[in-house]
């Protein structure tokens, strides 16, 4: 199962890095949405951190160390520690994490983006929530 998760996150990150998944001009953050659901799936932190690291390697768009990718990875790792404070409902968990992490991510990398491109931000937020709820639904259907 862990191996499958690695394959899944690698392919999703690769597709995200190549901007293959664009809806109405918006790139939903599939990697964030799937990693949120995998927080529930993976019980051990080291396994989850390998998944995050894999996603960062596949996402990295240039040879330079990117501030955005580093912040993204850090946020996803931090999220793992906060899962114990949330309810057991994967839907509520996915909804909250997708909303908070998307907002925090853009606040940290470029807060002006949210205010200057509010419609873009809102649409991405909507897509991220939708995707994480969808994957959460698949997860509970196991």
């Amino acid at each position: 199962m862990f191996f499958l998760d690695i394959v899944l996150i690698s392919i999703v990150s690769l597709a995200q890095g190549l901007s293959l998944m664009i809806f109405n001009g918006i790139k939903p953050n599939f990697v964030l949405a799937i990693l949120i659901v995998l927080i529930f799936s993976e019980k051990e932190f080291w396994k989850y951190s390998i998944l995050v690291l894999t996603s960062l390697i596949c996402l990295n768009y240039s040879v330079f160390i990117s501030k955005e990718i580093a912040i993204f990875g850090l946020l996803m790792l931090l999220a793992f520690y906060f899962k114990k404070y949330l309810s057991e409902s994967i839907f509520l968990h996915s909804f909250l994490f997708a909303s908070i992490l998307t907002t925090l991510f853009y606040l940290l990398i470029d807060f002006k983006f949210i205010f200057n491109n509010f419609n873009v931000f809102l649409l991405e937020l909507f897509y991220n929530i939708l995707i994480s709820l969808f994957f959460g639904f698949l997860y509970v259907k196991k």
Binding site: L4, V7, S19, M21, S62, N117, V120, K142
Partner: protein, 233 residues
């Protein structure tokens, strides 16, 4: 859950393959390639039109197609989030790529500018990036010297702002570069939609969208102009 994960992985793989990432598309019928072929032909047509336009309107002065030294390079990844629109190209310092060099989608079609260079790769800010700004002119070839000034602001889609409200512009009019950071006369796209109701500050200016004949995600290679010296930051 294993089944679902397999299904998701297979679906994603199909998507990657169908986008031509691993050249699998060559194995299938030509119908799969139609979209990319049409885009490619449009881009070529656009490029030829721009060259013709430059030859008709600006030749005899200084600009001609042979003036530019183009360097073909592959796109190997792009910025994965929404706040920027950058692409990474597969050549860098070793190949003579330098900061601020102009990048084009096809000869004469402006795409962006190199912003960071490493030994083997470089990062390009495209016209779809929110931080891309350039002075442009709007006008159809053969309309004499009547040109409309505008400011291009990057985004998806890029917008043309600061257009005097009194100026008449039509859909399909050519938008070309007038910014000193990029070669003069290079085409950026065409006017797509006119927001007659929505105007900028105090209703003095118009704002329209820019339509390009290519899709950034389907571009596989771009060209860097090596002999155009842009202004330093």
């Amino acid at each position: 859950m294993i089944f679902i994960r397999f299904a998701v992985i297979i679906a994603l793989l199909v998507m990657l393959f169908s986008n031509g990432l691993f050249s699998i598309k060559d194995l299938f019928s030509s119908s799969l390639n139609n979209k990319n072929e049409i885009e490619s032909l449009k881009l070529e047509n656009d490029s030829l039109k721009t060259e013709l336009y430059i030859a008709e309107n600006l030749s005899g002065k200084e600009i001609n197609e042979g003036k530019w030294e183009y360097f073909y390079t592959k796109i190997f990844s792009s910025y994965p989030f929404n706040d920027q629109n950058l692409i990474s190209i597969s050549n860098g310092e070793i190949s003579g790529i330098k900061k601020n060099q102009t990048v084009v989608a096809a000869p004469g079609i402006l795409l962006g500018q190199v912003i960071k260079v490493s030994k083997n790769t470089a990062l390009v800010r495209t016209i779809f990036d929110k931080d891309f700004i350039a002075a442009v002119k709007i006008g159809l070839p053969g309309q004499g010297e009547i040109r409309i000034d505008a400011l291009l602001k990057g985004g998806i889609p890029p917008t043309l702002e600061m257009i005097e409200k009194s100026k008449n512009i039509k859909n399909g009019e050519i938008v070309y570069n007038a910014d000193q950071n990029y070669p003069y006369g290079f085409k950026l796209g065409e006017v797509q939609m006119i927001e007659t109701e929505n105007t900028d500050t105090a209703g003095l200016f118009k704002k329209v969208f820019l339509k390009t004949d290519y899709n950034l995600t389907s571009l596989e290679e771009v060209l860097v102009i090596k002999n155009f010296g842009a202004l330093e930051d």
